[in-house]
Amino acid sequence: MIQFEQVSRSFMVGDQQVAALRDIDLNIAAGDYVSIMGPSGSGKSTLLNLIGLLDRPSAGTYRLDGGNVTALDDARQAKVRSEKIGFVFQAFHLVPRLTAAMNIELPLILAGVPAAERKARVAQLLESYGLTDRADHRPDQLSGGQRQRVAIARATIMHPAVLLADEPTGNLDQATGKEVMNLLEQLVAQQVTLIVVTHDPAIGGRATRQLHMVDGQIVGEGKSPVKPGAENEAG
């Protein structure tokens, strides 16, 4: 599904070149549940941005679904993002002037889906995320957990193959964070490839595949049993 070959990313800071990622080789299969962990500045967010096509590698190639997406122009990359990739952010990134329903509808509007179909899909998703009675509330009228649920609904409404979550629980308390993680993990069961960036071992440890990053390189990989909950009982 996701193939990185010798991918590097470096930034110019002042007149100095700083490498954020060095020669990353990475394969993630469809339906994988991967967490990327590491201290801040280790390059985990940069890796996530590259996977999400929000950023371009300085060197190397990135294949998504077998196709080389590194060389695509802005419009084509945007199309790939729209069709295959969903984002969940730490800061939720809901548009403050739009209601919960309209925030969820946004990707459909951008993709040019007819209005009638949009309404039906949004209503269905609101229902399954338990947000129906919050549909007409604006983000500032929602709790943190509700906001992240709206954001997850928005990220999944286009039925993406890959869901990228950057510190999805970072702005939530523990109970709500766990709730949100459960929600995301349910998507893995539906064959969505879930990639979670976090510095919290408790969250990262839930993934079936755990990548550890330091200084722009993947330094280790751990595996958990298929069921994250089962590990503690066995262990």
Partner: protein, 402 residues
């Protein structure tokens, strides 16, 4: 993204910052309204002048002594020559032309008019019975100058409405005697009040037979001869005839000038149209200012909505779509502003029309169109830069912005 959705999204973000949107619309509408009102005033002035000329009669020619050289330097100027006078014989001779219907010779001067103890200085116009028809004037009481030989110097006069009320008040004037200079004149009529007409306020005029005016002012010359062609088509023929007749009478020397009303009208029309364009252009500057304001506001909007732009990119909006969204906002802003401006301008025009009913104020269609077009154009033009800036934002940086 469908155009309807683009418009709706843009409308939504405009509604999101209400105060700013309203201020922008205000600036835009004031620009458009000022173009509409100012060109309306200019056009009103133009129509006013044309109406004034038309009230003189559409077949009118004006003959006056002296040759107006439009180019070169006549010998008369060097010698300090005074142009030959136009006389009553000249006026009479004009009637020989088949193209000329009526004539009215004019002599003007000023004199003291008195009745009992009241007296004032007054402009005296010497003419003939046909003046009434030629100038489309109307009488309130009595009759106009007697028809017949223009050389008979009867001591009768027709008073302007204001002169009548100053000298006689409410008492009837017709039949009474007034003193003009050292002669006594019998009042035979009173003009209807009609206000200013091409600088001649007939309300403050006393009209006497042209021969009487000659005696009064001890002259034999004419100030003007008003000539009425038999029809509109005959105007050019009448002009040629008048020139030919007078040139022959003046020993082959062309020392008179004949102007048609059309020529004067065309000149005024040109001048006033240029004036309207000029003030329209000045008003359009305010539109440019509004355009720059729109640019400023859009730039602020872009930097305030950096996170939203980053999000839209993450959700799959290509750069072109982001640009279109901001364009749509600018177009909506300037479009709504323009429409509001047109309404505001229409109201302003009506208010002016109420205050000055004699001025036919109305913005010409081209000015309305130009104002609308310029407003939309500047709105779009000045949003190019902000929209490009939004489209070029790096999504990673945009999303990281707090």
């Amino acid at each position: 993204m469908k155009p309807v959705d683009v418009a709706q999204f843009a409308l939504g973000s405009l509604r999101g910052s209400r105060a700013r949107t309203l201020l922008m619309i205000l600036a835009m509408s004031i620009g458009v309204a000022s173009v509409v009102v100012l060109t309306g005033l200019g056009e009103g002035a133009r129509r006013y002048v044309i109406n004034q000329f038309s009230s003189l009669g559409s077949n009118l020619l004006i003959v006056f002594p002296g040759r107006t050289e439009t180019a070169g330097f006549g010998p008369g100027m060097l010698l300090g020559q005074i142009p030959r006078e136009l006389g009553l014989d000249d006026a009479q001779a004009l009637l020989r032309s088949r193209a000329i219907g009526r004539i009215a010779p004019l002599t003007v001067g000023s004199s003291q008019i008195s009745r009992d103890a009241r007296n004032r200085e007054v402009a005296v116009l010497g003419s003939t019975a046909d003046l009434l028809e030629v100038r489309h004037m109307s009488l309130a009481q009595g009759q106009f100058l007697p028809a017949g030989d223009m050389r008979s110097s009867e001591s009768v006069c027709v008073l302007g409405a204001k002169i009548k009320s100053e000298l006689f008040g409410q008492t009837p004037a017709v039949g009474a005697l007034v003193r003009l200079g050292d002669r006594r004149f019998r009042v035979i009529g009173v003009m209807a009040g009609q206000g200013e007409s091409m600088g001649f306020n007939t309300d403050e005029l006393v009209i006497v037979p042209v021969a009487s005016a000659h005696i009064l002012f001890n002259t034999s010359g004419l100030f003007r001869i008003l000539v009425e062609a038999k029809s509109r088509d005959a105007v050019e023929q009448a002009k040629r005839d008048a020139e030919e007749i007078l040139t022959r009478r003046h020993n082959g020397e062309r020392d008179v000038t004949v102007i048609t009303q059309d020529a004067v009208l065309a000149t005024f029309d040109r001048i006033l149209r240029a004036l309207t364009l000029a003030i329209g252009g000045i008003a359009a500057i305010s539109l440019a200012v509004a355009g720059i304001l729109i640019m400023n506001v859009m730039l602020i909007a872009v930097s305030q909505r950096v996170r939203e732009i980053g999000l839209l990119k993450a959700l799959g909006a290509p750069a072109a779509q982001i640009r279109n969204l901001f364009f749509a906002e600018a177009i909506l802003l300037s479009g709504i502003g323009s429409v509001a401006g047109l309404i505001l301008g229409e109201i302003g025009t009506r208010v002016i029309a109420q205050i000055y009913p004699s001025l036919p104020v109305a913005a010409p269609w081209w000015a309305v169109l130009a104002a609308f077009g310029t407003a939309l154009g500047t709105g779009i033009l000045f949003s190019v830069w902000p929209a490009r800036r939004a489209a070029r934002l790096d999504p990673v940086m945009a999303l990281a912005r707090s």
